[in-house]
């Protein structure tokens, strides 16, 4: 109200999330404040994408409880709120994992999201870097109570490079925001409504503009996949490295992640941050053009900067990097200096899982032959 005498707003707002207090700029959403704290305090986000204007609020996985609205009005909010689209107020107290209601509501949302999801992870290219998988493991329940047939759609090619697998889609709308905000002309959107709503290109009209490939990067599930990478490899067998090239396209940042196996470039994606979003450089979002993404599949096209920093919790990082500090043996310490009495050393009789063989050295998945005393001839050259 205009009549009210307004005190000068504080330069920063104090917000407490799961008993951790942080100062953030006014206008920050609860989710972004929680991301500044990091760790388990951060609610998961399936539809919100900080680089896409207007995204968020749809998937409801980021629901949090607001125990106190602000210092001025400390009443709690009656419903759980979508943290991605609710801005913090000074003195707000938010409960995420400490709330009694949130884990239950979130498990409900996960169950809803998985109702019509085919769970075809074993044949899905997104497996290993799928946000829905992570969400399911972190916040979901073991089983489903759904016993009806799931909705299905025919696979659809949208343009020469992208395949739409609508059956896997969770309708986060991120790709439509990409089409709206990054590509020149919006050619796809949502048709129909309810649980039969579908991403469409308006009668399979191909998306042929330079930045359409970024839809693949923003898709949290395997609904939009790279046709040049389709069924070529599992992401955790490939090794991501950061690389750049001088791209002719002025809008393309030229900075990418190459997913290698040996010297072969299996796919190219934009570089992503710890929240799975495309990184920004000097405030500009690092989207890459379709030429970089789909046509430059040789290491000679790129200047390789080094290995991509992958979270040690990610399956992508598994078996790729050598442990520099080998943890010491603790058994004798626990036993007060006495050596354990071994009845039998299993490794003497079994060739499986020989501790002398470092799996990080392998450029490919481990094979039973790797543990044999004499490696099978030709196994090394297979790769």
């Amino acid at each position: 109200m205009a009549e009210e005498v307004k005190a000068a707003p504080p330069a920063t707002f104090k917000v407490t999330i799961d008993n951790i207090t942080i100062d953030v700029k006014p206008g920050t959403s609860i989710l972004n404040a929680a991301r500044q704290i990091g760790g388990d305090v951060t609610p998961p986000a399936m539809c919100y994408y900080s680089k896409l204007e207007g995204s968020g609020g749809k998937c409801r996985t980021c629901l949090v409880e607001v125990a106190a609205g602000s210092t001025a009005d400390p009443r709690p909010m009656p419903k759980l709120v979508a943290s991605c689209r609710t801005n913090v107020m000074d003195g707000m107290i938010v409960k995420n994992m400490t709330s009694e209601k949130v884990p239950d509501a979130r498990a409900g949302v996960v169950e809803f999201l998985l109702l019509n999801h085919p769970l075809d992870c074993p044949i899905c290219d997104q497996a290993g870097e799928c946000h829905l998988q992570d969400l399911g493991y972190d916040h979901g329940k073991a089983g489903t109570r759904y016993q009806f047939s799931r909705r299905t759609f025919a696979r659809e090619d949208i343009g020469p490079y992208i395949q739409l697998h609508m059956t896997r889609c969770i309708l986060c709308y991120r790709c439509t925001y990409v089409a709206d905000q990054i590509t020149d002309k919006r050619v796809h959107g949502i048709v129909d409504r309810g649980d039969h709503a579908a991403i469409s290109t308006y009668i399979s009209k191909a998306i042929d503009n330079d930045f359409s490939g970024n839809m693949i990067d923003v898709c949290p599930v395997g609904a939009l996949t790279d046709k040049t990478f389709r069924f070529k490899n599992r992401v955790w067998f490939t090794k991501p490295v950061d690389a750049h090239r001088n791209c002719e396209n002025p809008k393309c940042c030229g900075k990418a992640t190459l997913w290698l196996r040996g010297d072969e470039v299996f796919r190219v994606t934009a570089r992503k941050d710890e929240w799975g979003e495309v990184q920004s450089y000097d405030g500009k979002v690092g989207w890459i053009c379709n030429t970089c993404r789909f046509d430059k599949k040789e290491t000679k096209d790129w200047t390789i900067e080094g290995v991509t920093n992958i979270s040690r919790h990610s399956v992508i990082g598994a078996n790729k990097y050598k442990v520099l500090d080998v943890p010491g043996e603790t058994v004798s310490k626990v036993m007060g200096g006495r050596a354990p009495k071994l009845l039998m050393d299993i490794h003497n009789v079994s060739g499986v899982n020989n501790p002398d063989i470092d799996l990080s050295d392998l450029q490919r998945p481990a094979h039973s032959g790797d543990f044999k005393k004499d490696p099978e001839p030709g196994l090394e050259s297979k790769n």
């Binding site: 749809k58 809803f112 959107g189 309810g194 709503a197």
Partner: protein
């Protein structure tokens, strides 16, 4: 006889035309309003205690006072004529028989809110009604009540009718605004509320047809006089569209002092239930509000007579009460099957969910499938608890109230008619041949203990 404020002239021959409407005292309120200050009109509506007639029952005067007034930004009034709640057809009646009442109310409201361009968003299925409104607008313009410099007051107002494409969700005010802007009718995430950023990011007020029409008698008789009609916070008159198993379905204007029993059984209103059947249940406010069994419908859990007004209908919360809603009064007699009825509603909400947020998109379809299997005698006992759990996880976790509207009927049906669901599960073959009827609700009016 109760007082009629909206429909008293609705049956005068030719009232649809401007001439007769004007002769019967129409457009007096515009003449009066244009001599007043806009803020005084808002004050008058506040005094009247008028509550939104679309379903939520939010005080209209307060809603109007929330509208932002930034310099140089136009403001808009939008009339929500997207009346798609099953069981509700009061707005259609009003627009069809006495369209100038809505136009008159909208001119007054536009003046009070400072809207120079106002819209009527009408549901696509009402195509003949939109023609009637267009005609009424043209007549009003010809007679100097719309357009530039209305009645020499210096106030300009244009009015447009916009037809929707037949989606229930577009009755939600932000989805309506999106649709009006020509986009897909997905509800917006609030805040910002329409009073701050509505149509084309301009401050907007969205009101129901009946609400805007009620502004006319408020201006004519004064807010304080209007507030004397009715009881407590349920002031004025309310249109009820009665349907289902009653002798006289139709539109009734009530002053909110009569009891539910009187409304159903008196000859002045619904005229009782046909064929000597007994009352089983009723949904008093459109399909979204909780269904009530006969015993709780006629008397509250406290043992008082339940009246047809906002407070009395919601007495007892959702445990033993329901809501006034939009006034779509659906009566079910003893031959109706609550399971089938709940399935029909679930099918409707599944079909109408916009698919934007996951609990509603997936949950409504799931509930429909479970209800279908129970109705077809293929249900399991655990399905009933599952339904309860699904509705609990939809309610309150969605962007817009459609999720709640889909969850409440299922919750209420299980809460009050669990035995009927269990009977369906236990008697799969019998349930396909006959109805559960009134096994528990017939003679004894058993009142459950409140929590």
């Amino acid at each position: 006889m109760s007082i009629k404020l909206l429909l008293d002239k609705a049956h005068v021959p030719g009232i649809r035309g401007f001439e007769v409407y004007r002769r019967e005292g129409g457009y007096r309120s515009v003449e009066k309003a244009l001599k007043m200050q806009p803020a005084d009109i808002v004050e008058e509506v506040k005094k009247s205690g008028l509550r939104g007639r679309g379903g939520a029952g939010f005080p209209t005067g307060m809603k109007w006072s929330f509208i932002a007034k930034p310099e140089g930004v136009p403001r808009h009034l939008v009339c929500n004529a997207d009346e798609s709640e099953p069981g509700t057809f009061k707005d259609r009646y009003l627009m069809e028989f006495i369209p100038h009442l809505l136009i008159e109310g909208m001119i007054v409201s536009s003046f009070a809110l400072g809207s120079n361009t106002s819209y009527i968003y009408i549901r696509g299925e009402y195509d003949w009604v939109s023609d009637i409104l267009e005609e009424a607008i043209a007549e009003a313009r010809k007679n100097g009540f719309l357009g530039k410099n209305i009645q020499g007051s210096g106030f300009d107002c244009e009015m447009y009718v916009h037809r929707g494409a037949g989606a229930y969700i577009c009755g939600e005010e932000t989805a309506l605004i999106e649709s009006l802007e020509g986009k897909r009718g997905n509800p917006r995430i609030k805040p910002p509320f329409p009073a701050i950023q509505g149509v084309w990011a301009r401050p907007t007020v969205v009101n129901n047809v009946e609400t805007l029409a009620a502004v006319v008698p408020i201006l004519n008789m004064g807010g304080e006089e209007y507030a004397k009609i009715g009881v407590g916070k349920s002031t004025g008159t309310k249109l009820i569209s009665a349907c289902g198993n009653i002798n006289k379905p139709g539109i009734y204007e009530i002053d909110m002092t009569i009891s539910v029993e009187e409304f159903i059984f008196s000859d002045e209103y619904c005229g009782g239930i046909p064929n000597g059947k007994r009352l089983k249940a009723c949904i008093p406010g459109g399909s979204s509000v909780p269904i009530l069994p006969a015993n709780l419908l006629l008397t509250t859990a406290k043992g008082e007579k339940r009246l047809m007004n906002y407070e009395s209908l919601s007495d007892g919360g959702f445990a033993t009460g329901t809501m006034m809603g939009s006034g779509g009064f659906i009566v079910l007699d003893e031959d109706q099957c609550v399971v089938k009825h709940t399935y029909t509603l679930a099918r409707f909400y599944r079909h109408e969910s916009c698919g934007q947020c996951s609990p509603c998109r997936e949950g409504t379809g799931w509930m429909e499938k479970i209800l279908k299997s129970i109705e077809e005698g293929k249900g399991k006992m655990s399905d009933i608890d599952l339904l309860w759990d699904i509705q609990r996880r939809i309610e309150g976790n969605t962007i817009c109230p459609l999720g709640d509207a889909a969850a409440w009927p299922v919750a209420a049906a299980i809460r009050h008619f669990r035995d009927e669901f269990e009977w369906h599960v236990n008697n799969p073959e019998l349930s396909q041949k006959e109805n559960y009827g009134l096994r528990h609700y017939a003679d004894e009016l058993h009142v459950p203990v409140t929590a």
